[in-house]
Symmetry: C2
Subunit: 166 residues, 2 copies
DNA sequence: CTTGGAATGTCAACAAGGCTGACGTAGTTT
DNA sequence: AAACTACGTCAGCCTTGTTGACATTCCAAG
């Protein structure tokens, strides 16, 4: 009976209607999530693709192009177009790999780091506000669900980054 | 003192590094969130824009174009291109408004409802799995944070839909 | 009953950012 | 020496967003 109850309890919050609402929430929230950086990026001639590149170079300075391709999940042609403008504009530096000289290792310049900081600050501010309003337990739950929504492969990338943080 | 503790507790989980990780989680999770519908849509000649339109018409049958524009946050030209193909392909029906005949009220046809169901089922399956693995408390927290991440205006739309569910 | 404004649709042109395919050039590995 | 890898690039295409201009239809106010 206790099992029956927990089963029905589990089913209770997994109704299709509630799942649909969660899907919608995800859609609207993502719009909010990108809104502030988008505004900043629009002023320069950049887009979300530039933001993503800058973000992941900030996270892993010296990362290679192939690495970035795997994380971003786009073609090299697509990434290259973005990287080229960032390098031309002096926001990203591309250094020949010290061991394997076919590789290009990517770093943010001072200007690149400045833009990254601006974008990140805006995005973190919204995140921080949402977290504060929702409370610590909500934040823990939020992160758990997000992790389980990822594709397994990306989840490994995500988890691996946690190790790198130390 | 109790207040001091809760303050420092609040600061504890709001470090920039953790906020950055949450931002990344949001990015990766959204990729997972759209992955399954994207695969289905790619087989037909549709994209995410079609999915969004179909979703919100399903949610609010008879909604007007203006309504949809506000929710989706795109220009009417952009939405119209998508709606036109959906109408041509017999997935959406556009009826002249009964009271105000300038308005177009949008409905899913049987075929449209079928596609919507297919997309929604795939997306709900991933959501359901993530929810089950993360547990009920996590789900509650997830939804709270998402709501607080939305722009206030969209949050009102989202909350209003809850009323309409009854 | 006219007129202003709202709702809708549509044409044209453009841009960002995805994609595929093909090819070249270093550099590394076998 | 041959094969493979990492990267860059050219060309062309698609979706989905944008602006601007304009026509139509129709409600509502004067």
């Amino acid at each position: 009976m206790a099992d029956d109850f927990s089963d029905s309890d589990a089913l209770l919050f997994l109704t299709d209607a509630q799942l649909r609402r969660a899907i919608e929430a995800m859609f609207f929230a993502y719009r909010g999530f990108t809104a502030d950086p988008d505004r900043i990026l629009a002023e320069m001639d950049y887009g979300r693709a530039h933001h993503r590149a800058i973000h992941f170079i900030q996270r892993s300075p010296g990362t290679t192009v192939t690495n970035l391709l795997a994380i971003l999940g786009v073609t090299k042609q697509s990434l290259n177009r973005v990287l080229r403008t960032l390098i031309e504009d002096g926001l990203v530096e591309s250094r020949v790999g010290p061991r394997d000289r076919r590789e290009r290792h990517l770093y943010l310049t001072e200007a690149g780091a400045a833009l990254e900081a601006e974008l990140s600050t805006a995005q973190r501010a919204r995140m921080r506000a949402a977290f504060r309003e929702a409370g610590p337990e909500a934040v823990a739950g939020f992160r758990q669900v997000l992790e389980h929504m990822m594709d397994p492969e990306l989840r490994r990338v995500f988890a691996a980054a946690r190790e790198g943080d130390r």
